[in-house]
């Protein structure tokens, strides 16, 4: 039982991260019907920025004064920079192709992904970067289950961010505009919604969430390299499809489910097939329920 709970806790931590990244995929798909393959690289950029900013704050002496404040600042700063990246990518690589055939922006997205990977490799080096050891590995033991404070932080931060996103989409004017654009972009434009700014906001919010996930993962594993965005992006994409692509609560559910499934599969079956479980789930979902667990529309692109 302890082992089972331990696997669940570990799975929830990873799943929370998948969910945060999956939200960016699903929001962009919901509005543009575009699978933004560069999204995983935004997460990777966030992880690198986390390391750089925290090293900077440590050098400035802030980490010694207040660690939580330094971490909060790091997350916000990395999120803000990545949001700018996301918005810029949309303007440069996707907006000119908005009326082009559907395949064109998809290929453009892959190009951006390759560009960002190589850009980070050339500027930051091809070796692993180790996160500065400022976060203590301390934790609590509940009924024999070890939970580090970092795991608690990751889960709590994810819940807060997801709740915030839900409120943003459901209660604000911009959120309503986003839902309208997702339903029918042309019609939303006709009734006065500025769809261009809605799309920008979608990319900004999605990139911010991915960057937060990146910083938290960098803190959790303490190790970052330029290629982590690929696998994380693929897993998050799987999570988005699992929940129903285009569906925001679906991405949250899909991410958490995927994390737990992986953890249980690796823990009880074969650890060496951990990554395979995610994609096995993807195949099964596409066969049995192509619209995803909570999805309504069938993804007919890609």
């Amino acid at each position: 039982m302890e082992l089972f709970l331990q696997q669940i806790v570990n799975g929830l931590t990873v799943g929370a991260v998948y969910a945060l990244i999956a939200l960016g995929y699903t929001m962009v798909y919901g509005i543009l019907q575009l699978i933004n393959f560069a999204h995983g690289e935004i997460y990777m950029l966030g992880a690198y920025l986390g390391i750089i900013i925290l090293a900077f704050l440590t050098a400035a002496g802030l980490t010694a004064v207040s660690l939580p404040l330094a971490i909060l600042l790091t997350i916000i700063a990395a999120g803000a920079i990545c949001a700018a990246y996301g918005a810029t990518i949309e303007k440069v690589a996707y907006k000119p192709l908005r009326d082009a055939p559907r395949l064109a922006p998809l290929i453009s997205a892959m190009g951006v992904s390759i560009f960002l990977q190589n850009y980070v490799m050339l500027t930051q080096g091809a070796t692993d970067k180790v996160f500065p050891a400022v976060i203590p590995a301390a934790g609590v033991t509940v009924h024999g289950v070890e939970i580090t404070f970092l795991q608690i932080f990751i889960m709590a931060a994810s819940v807060v961010l997801m709740a915030g996103l839900h409120l943003f989409i459901m209660k604000t004017r911009m959120g309503r505009a986003m839902r309208a654009t997702a339903l029918d972009m042309k019609m939303a434009g006709l009734v006065g919604v500025n769809t261009d700014s809605v799309i920008s906001v979608t990319f900004i919010v999605g990139s911010f969430l991915a960057a937060v996930a990146g910083v938290m993962v960098a803190m959790y594993y303490g190790l970052v390299n330029f290629s982590i965005g690929y696998l994380a992006g693929m897993k998050a994409f799987t999570a988005a499809v699992l929940g129903g692509i285009g569906n925001v609560p679906g991405a949250m559910l899909g991410g958490v489910l995927l994390g737990v499934l992986e953890s249980l599969g690796a823990g009880y079956l074969w650890p060496e097939y951990k990554d395979a479980f995610a994609f096995l789930v993807l195949v099964l979902i596409l066969i049995v329920r192509p619209q995803g667990l909570l999805g309504e529309r069938v993804p007919d692109k890609v």
Binding site: Q7, G222, N225, P271
Partner: protein, 371 residues
């Protein structure tokens, strides 16, 4: 149409000129290939290779090169990927190098060795420890380091003899090196030890908590890991986060400062099998001083790469030619006194003098604990 043809012809001619210019330049130097993971998570090891060979080549060139020609290094990156290793092996053969120092990973050296043999060139690996490498019966393969059957046995003896463990968990990274080493360790444990967990992780993964939680449930006194430092460092770190604190022991793939950097305080006390500390060798003093001056702290295999390059170059100088078979013959027969001390090869190409001792991480440094 005619214009298109003219452009194409011009392009072909200009390329042909470029190629012939390269070939001409090649005749003036003797090329030595260096192959290893130069980028990616294991790039530290590749860079150690390159720096070690660089030092040897610089010294030879300062003395006027070999056979009256300057030595040129051709560095290729295998990204610790067997497919890439085969590709760059073909590239080095086409490039016409006189011999190769490399590769690092067993999974790369073994497939590449066939290509070098077919290309008629010797290869000396500074670090490939899997027994298969020299058991293939190839005439062109040599290793300066030891073998995993020696290494696995040394670890098993320490675990049963000194640590007196009865319950052991064994993990590996499913690579030729990692799995080979883990299996050698396991088979040398004897009957008094129960292997309570045997499994593998994915190379390049960052999250090992699921498998570690299962290991914790099995309750081993010792955790053995056959693999390289990026996974090794994360394993010890995540194990301690899970409250899993057995004695950890691993092989030469983890003996790198990055292991301690990644593992943090959890790396403290981890045992590793490796050859004796070169800092205690009288013969290595000059090499270490020069290396530190040029490249900073030495890696575990810098000195092996340096000796491998020196052996290759000395054999070429002794033979008086770059004929692969003759050079390999000279390496087989020769006695080489390098920074590691004396190196001699047996008929298979193994270093006759290699042995393994136990190291431990103490206060953030690797310290030799047995003789």
């Amino acid at each position: 149409m005619l214009r298109k043809f003219a452009v194409l012809a011009a392009a072909i001619i200009s390329m042909a000129i470029l190629v012939s210019a390269c070939a001409k330049k090649g005749e003036e130097t003797i090329k030595i290939g260096i192959a290893g993971p130069m980028t990616g998570d294991q790039s530290k090891m590749g860079m150690d290779f390159k720096n070690g060979v660089q030092l040897a080549v610089d010294e030879w060139n300062a003395r006027g090169g070999v056979l009256g020609k300057k030595i040129e290094m051709v560095v290729e990156d295998d990204q610790h990927d067997p497919k890439q290793a085969v590709a760059i092996a073909n590239k080095l053969v086409n490039e016409g190098v006189a011999g190769v120092v490399g590769h690092f990973n067993s999974s790369c050296s073994i497939p590449a060795s066939k290509i070098y043999m077919d290309g008629g060139m010797p290869m000396i690996t500074p670090a490939t420890t899997n027994p298969v490498f020299t058991e293939q019966g190839y005439w062109n393969v040599f290793r300066v380091c030891g073998r995993d059957d020696q290494q696995g046995k040394a670890a098993a003896l320490y675990v049963t003899g000194t640590l007196k463990a009865t319950k052991v968990a064994v993990l590996h990274d499913k690579t030729t090196y990692g799995q080979g080493l883990a299996d050698q360790f396991k088979s040398n444990l004897g009957n008094s030890v129960e292997v309570v967990y045997y499994g593998s992780v994915i190379q390049g993964d960052k999250d090992f908590k699921s498998v570690l939680a299962s290991i914790k449930d099995a309750g081993p006194q010792v955790l053995y890991f056959g693999g390289i430092y990026p996974e090794g460092g994360l394993l010890v770190k995540q194990a301690s986060e899970l409250g899993l604190n057995p004695a950890c022991i691993s092989g030469d793939g983890c003996i790198d400062p990055k292991f301690i950097e990644i593992g943090g305080s959890a790396a403290e006390g981890v045992y590793l099998t490796f050859s004796p500390d070169p800092e205690s060798f009288e013969t290595a003093k000059a090499f270490l001083a020069e290396y530190h001056k040029k490249f900073g702290p030495h890696g575990p295999y810098s000195i092996y790469a340096y000796d491998a390059a020196n052996i290759m170059l000395k054999a070429i100088a002794d033979t008086g030619s770059t004929d692969g078979k003759a050079v390999a013959e000279a390496i087989h027969k020769g006695v080489f006194d390098g920074a590691l001390g004396r190196v001699e090869f047996d008929d298979k190409g193994d270093n006759k003098i290699a042995n393994y001792v136990i190291w431990q991480v103490k206060e953030g440094r690797f310290v030799q604990v047995t003789n």
